[in-house]
């Protein structure tokens, strides 16, 4: 089975090509099923490869497959090839697994959309790119996937491109990601300049020869790439906007898989990171700050998907906190559990939106558990998981991270803890607003407040309608994911052993078991108090909503406005100045000026040519005298 690893990306690619050619003829829902089948097939192959790899012993768990030479120039030799090791297989498994589920979900969710087949074209292409990213055997091929997922993300965010906001969000995502790619590319250059290769195996095996400075530089540059892709401070701004895309996209790309690519990359290069403690500290700090910062914003969002988006940013921050603390397994572990519960939450949110006829504002929801039992049940599982309530999966993974952070730096740990509290709070707020409380969509003021939307939204969320449960194609993935989110915690120790071969230095928790236990208690208390707080505010209405939703948080600390002011506006001014002053006036003006000068000279000279024959004779005489003068001067 191991040799079939190429099939894992090839199947979605095939799906992409088939759908590209014939997707429109297949139509709805056949195209969706074809795409899903490809993903399931890829998942099956991935499982097969996984078991093959399991069959090998620890250090031997590595397999390379080389398909063909891609770019081979001088000392640079990059092939299209795969590196199968525990890390890549783990990634492949959950990408194909979660991906297959979300494909399936999309069959139902996208039903009726006029560009239904196109959606699956993009989705399969995305899966292909993501699998190339994780399975590749070189930085450059990873970069291919890295950019590919970025492009697909762009396509899918702006899937409903008629909406200017969607189009803008897509562009923003791509461009912001490119800023990160800048770092990734420079990192590759530096790696090549240092090692003469871009393949993972020689680079990572030779990493120990690196000087401290080079290692730090490479680590930080790669981290810049990761910051872009995984939406960390200060490049996180695209992710909340990315919610303009269809919800399955948010689940697949902007929660479960693509955004975790940065974390994957960091873990992949852990031998280099280990040589750069300064870089690690920075990564941990950025991670922790991002986690906290995003969580504060999530507390005050009303859009059901925006909450999840900020939550994703926040959780990704946790993962980087783990990476920065050297707890790579914890990062991967959290990545996996996060994939389960966040995909679940997004799909649940999608189900809600679907059931509410495209309403996304939580303030106009409520009490949906009565109408959408499967959705609410599974959503609640996801909530408990993300909130870190034992024994759900999120508890275990987050706990590991906080423990690692505690050992790394107490301050970071404290930030993480606060974030955990807030996470529990805002997720509870979401659950309470959506599934509990009163049926606010019925209230007349709701319709009034949203009045203008009704006009151009034919089946808007108002008037005479009842929320409804989603079809089985959507419900099934929810149930599966809920199961995984609930019990994902059991992967903890298998994963640690499994991933050991890819880690240069397995992370050992130094703390005594009593410390560990203490931390667990603190964390759990934090989570529970978060939930309690939310309960008292949003179900008991102890506090007025406005006081806990300050403007500054609603507007996400005005970061977008700030960027607009310090980046976009000056950039625009600079571009305008360059185009219409420097280029048109100065540079081109000089060119045209030369032409005008010749012309002016000609015009001036023309007046000398007066038409009077005596003037002409004068010119002859003057010429003669001049030459004579020269002759005399020369002979003298």
């Amino acid at each position: 089975m191991m040799h079939a690893v190429w099939l894992i990306p090839a199947l979605p690619l095939t799906g992409f090509l088939i759908l590209l050619a014939t997707g429109r003829r297949m139509g709805d829902p056949k195209a969706g099923y074809v795409a899903t089948a490809m993903m399931v097939g890829a998942f099956v192959v991935a499982v097969g490869v996984f078991f093959d790899l399991m069959g090998l012993h620890g250090e031997e768990r590595r397999f390379q497959q080389d398909l063909f030479s891609w770019i081979s120039v001088g000392g640079l030799d990059v092939h299209v090839g795969f590196l199968v090791d525990p890390l890549s297989v783990t990634m492949a498994l959950f990408v194909t697994g979660v991906g297959a589920l979300i494909h399936l979900y999309s069959v139902g969710y996208m039903h009726g959309d006029e560009r239904y087949p196109t959606f699956f074209v993009y989705l399969n292409l995305f899966a292909f790119s993501m699998l190339m990213l994780v399975l590749s055997d070189s930085f450059l091929l990873t970069f291919l996937g890295w950019e590919g997922v970025g492009a697909c993300s762009y396509f899918l965010i702006s899937f409903w491109f008629e909406r200017p906001s969607a189009a803008t969000a897509g562009k923003k995502a791509f461009v912001t990601n490119r800023v990160g790619d800048f770092g990734f590319m420079l990192a590759m250059f530096l790696i090549f300049a240092t090692f003469g290769s871009l393949n993972y195996v020689p680079v990572l095996e030779g990493a120990h020869e690196l000087t401290h400075v080079t290692a730090t530089a490479i680590a930080l540059l790669l981290f810049v790439g990761a910051v872009g892709k995984s939406a960390q401070l200060p490049l996180y701004v695209w992710l909340p906007d990315a919610m303009e895309g269809p919800t399955p996209v948010s689940a697949l790309i902007h929660a479960a898989t693509m955004v975790t690519a940065g974390v994957f990359l960091m873990v992949r290069v852990n031998p280099i990171l280990n040589l750069a403690p300064g870089a690690l500290t920075l990564i941990a700090t950025i991670g922790a700050l991002t986690a906290f910062f995003a969580a504060t914003i999530a507390c005050a969002q009303n859009d059901i998907k925006k909450v999840l988006a900020y939550s994703t940013v926040s959780q990704l921050g946790y993962m980087f906190l783990a990476v920065g603390s050297g707890a790579y397994v914890a990062a991967i572990f959290h990545m996996v559990t996060h994939a389960f519960f966040k995909a679940l939450l997004f799909l649940g949110a999608g189900s809600v939106i679907h059931g509410m006829h495209d309403e996304q504002d939580m303030k106009y929801m409520g009490a949906l558990r009565k109408w959408m039992p499967i959705t609410s049940g599974t959503f609640i599982v996801g909530w408990l998981a993300i909130a870190g309530v034992p024994p759900f999966s999120g508890f275990w993974s987050k706990d590991d991270i906080l423990l690692a952070a505690f050992e790394k730096n107490k301050a970071l740990w404290f930030i993480g803890l606060l974030t955990a509290l807030m996470t529990a709070y805002y997720m509870s707020r979401q659950v309470f607003l959506v599934f509990y409380g009163g049926e606010r969509w019925k209230k007349p003021e709701a319709a009034e407040a949203h009045g203008e939307d009704v006009a151009h939204d034919a089946h808007g969320a108002h008037g005479d309608f009842k929320p409804h449960e989603s079809p089985p194609t959507m419900a099934f993935p929810l149930v599966v994911l809920a199961g995984l989110a609930a019990v994902g915690g059991i992967l903890k120790s298998p994963l640690e052993r499994w991933l050991e071969p890819v880690l240069a230095h397995p992370h050992e928790f130094a703390s005594s078991s009593s410390t560990k236990l203490g931390l667990i208690v603190v964390t759990t208390v934090g989570a529970l108090s978060g939930i309690g707080l939310a309960y008292s505010i949003w179900l008991r209405n102890r506090v007025r909503a406005e006081t806990v939703e300050p403007e500054v948080l609603r507007h996400a600390w005005y970061v977008d406005a700030l960027y607009q002011k310090i980046v976009e506006a000056p950039g625009r001014a600079l571009a305008n100045f360059s185009a219409f002053v420097v280029d048109a006036k100065v540079i081109d003006g000089t060119v045209n000026g030369v032409g005008a000068l010749v012309r002016a000279g000609g015009t001036r000279l023309r007046t000398v040519q007066s038409g009077f024959v005596r003037n002409y004779a004068l010119a002859v005489a003057v010429g003669a005298v001049a030459i004579l003068a020269y002759a005399v001067a020369r002979s003298a």
């Binding site: 003006g589 045209n592 000026g593 032409g595 005008a596 010749v598 012309r599 002016a600 000279g601 000609g602 015009t603 000279l605 023309r606 000398v608 040519q609 038409g611 024959v613 003037n615 002409y616 004779a617 010119a619 002859v620 003057v622 010429g623 003669a624 001049a626 030459i627 004579l628 020269y630 002759a631 005399v632 020369r634 002979s635 003298a636």
Partner: protein, 519 residues
């Protein structure tokens, strides 16, 4: 007391070596006489054919002489008591001038008919003028050069004013005459001063004198200066150029074509022979002057051409500019330079005759339509003519695979070989300026058929762009007539322009072997 007079020994005259100019003169006389008997249409055509035949005969005679002296076969020789030199150089110019005569005659036929000026005297004058040019090329004596110059010029004065009914033609004649005789006086004074300082007007003697004597007094340098003025006038080098635009514009167009080819060639023949050959040892004295003249000619000619709205006048300025390029060959003062100048002159003759042939055709009856406007849409009305004119213009601009390119290439390579980098660069930059007005003319012919020429006319600076507005329909003009003879002339010019561009080696060989007798 009656002294015993020694018998006067008449110099031996090698008639065969003088045959081309004798053929021309004889032809002129025959035609003159014949013209007194008949004056009708048939006579006009006959005169044209006769002139072409005479020119061809002179060419054939030149060919015979070339076999004798050119290409190092028999070597150069002196004749007529050393007053005439028969070398490849002389034959080369004989050929150029005979070609100019023949082509000029072809051009003239249709023009004279159209303007109702049909008379054999036109051809007579042309042949006489040509013979004067040949004398200049062959002369080994400054006085002979002066005589040739006058024969050439006096006939041209008349030709310039040949279209008596046209004010411009008369004006051209008088301007040309006054200035021409003025500059001739300078030339003659130069001859006198040279004679005074060297003791002879014979170029061979002068060369010998200069190579043995190192003294270069002010009188001799003054001689240089005035000779340069006289010949500079003839070749239209700045600042002696000011007659050129007026005379070129005012003269009947076939005369302009002939003048641009033959008179320029003859002037350069004398210039090159005097300075390169006779004053060769005094290079250091005259090269800087030629440098200045060349640069001024190229730059002033080109930049004044840019602002012209009249095609004939523009071509006149461009001919000034071309004179500058040919001077580069002299300035380089090496064999490549001389050969380059010769190549340039031969090629330029064809190109310029072709160009003025087109102008003559387009200007229609009355010889008035020479403005840019007259060329609008020519590519549709007369695509063949437009294409030929385009080739001539591109050749003048130095476009590849035309004789014009090789001509420029040749003289500039000579300059580079002589390490005159500055002039080479200036020449190339001036060619860019020059290209502008050739291209502008092409624009008018090809690219702006329906539009007003507001944006292309000389008044708009390059930077402003085109008006682009839809045009008012211009007055419909009848399609131009292309006389057969002119068409033949254009065809010949075109064939040379392209042929020498593609396979230049024979022409280059001709120019290279047209060695100047180094005295």
């Amino acid at each position: 007391m009656i002294a015993q007079l020694e018998p006067i020994s008449l110099p031996h005259v090698e008639w065969s070596l003088l045959s081309p100019e004798l053929i021309l003169i004889a032809g002129a006389l025959v035609l003159l006489v014949a013209g007194t008997f008949r004056r009708d249409r048939a006579m006009a055509t006959g005169a044209c054919v006769f002139t072409v035949a005479v020119a061809v005969a002179a060419l054939v005679a030149s060919w015979g002489i070339w076999q004798d002296v050119g290409g190092g076969a028999g070597g150069a020789r002196l004749a007529v008591a050393d007053a005439v030199v028969i070398d490849g150089f002389a034959v080369f110019f004989t050929v150029v001038i005979c070609i100019a005569v023949g082509l000029g005659a072809l051009l003239a036929h249709g023009y004279l008919r159209q303007e109702r000026l049909e008379a054999p005297s036109f051809y007579v004058l042309m042949m006489l003028s040509g013979s004067g040019g040949i004398v200049m090329a062959k002369a080994n004596d400054l006085i002979l050069i002066f005589l040739g110059l006058e024969i050439l010029s006096i006939a041209l004065y008349v030709l310039a004013g040949y279209h008596q009914r046209r004010e411009q033609s008369r004006e051209a004649a008088i301007k040309y005459f006054v200035l021409g005789s003025f500059s001739s006086a300078f030339f003659l004074y130069g001859v006198a001063l040279t004679y005074g300082s060297t003791g002879s007007t014979n170029l061979g003697f002068i060369a010998e004198f200069l190579s043995t004597q190192t003294v270069t007094g002010g009188v001799l340098l003054g001689g240089f200066a005035f000779l340069l003025v006289g010949l500079g006038f003839k070749v239209a080098a700045v600042p002696f150029h000011m007659w050129t635009p007026d005379v070129y514009q005012g003269s009947p167009t076939p005369v302009t074509g002939f003048m641009a080819a033959a008179a320029k060639a003859a002037g350069f023949a004398a210039l090159l022979r005097i300075f390169y050959s006779a004053f060769g040892t005094a290079q250091l004295d005259w090269r800087p002057i030629v440098w200045v003249l060349a640069v001024l000619s190229m730059v002033v000619g080109a930049s004044l051409a840019v602002v012209q709205g009249d095609v004939k006048r523009m071509l006149a300025y461009s001919s000034i500019s071309h004179a500058g390029y040919i001077l580069i060959g002299l300035q380089a003062a090496n064999e490549r330079g001389i050969a380059g100048s010769l190549f340039y002159l031969l090629s330029y003759s064809f190109v310029v005759v072709g160009s003025f042939a087109t102008v003559a055709i387009v200007s229609r009856k009355g010889d008035n339509r020479t403005g840019l406007d007259a060329y609008r849409g020519l590519s549709r009305d007369r695509p063949g003519l437009a294409l030929a004119f385009t080739v001539f213009l591109l050749a003048q601009a130095g476009a590849p695979f035309t004789a014009g390119f090789l001509a420029k290439f040749y003289v500039i390579s000579a300059a580079v070989e002589a390490h005159s980098y500055a002039i080479a660069v200036i020449a190339m930059l001036a060619s860019v300026i020059a290209a502008y007005f050739y291209l502008r003319l092409i624009v008018v012919m090809y690219m702006a058929p329906e539009q007003t020429m507001a944006g292309i006319g000389p008044e708009t600076p390059l930077g402003e762009g085109e008006a682009g507005g839809l045009a008012t329909a211009t007055a419909t003009v009848t399609r131009v007539e292309i006389p057969v003879a002119a068409a033949i002339a254009i065809g010949i010019c075109l064939a040379y322009t392209v042929g020498a561009g593609l396979l230049p080696q024979p022409v280059i060989d001709f120019a290279r072997h047209a060695t100047l007798l180094r005295l």
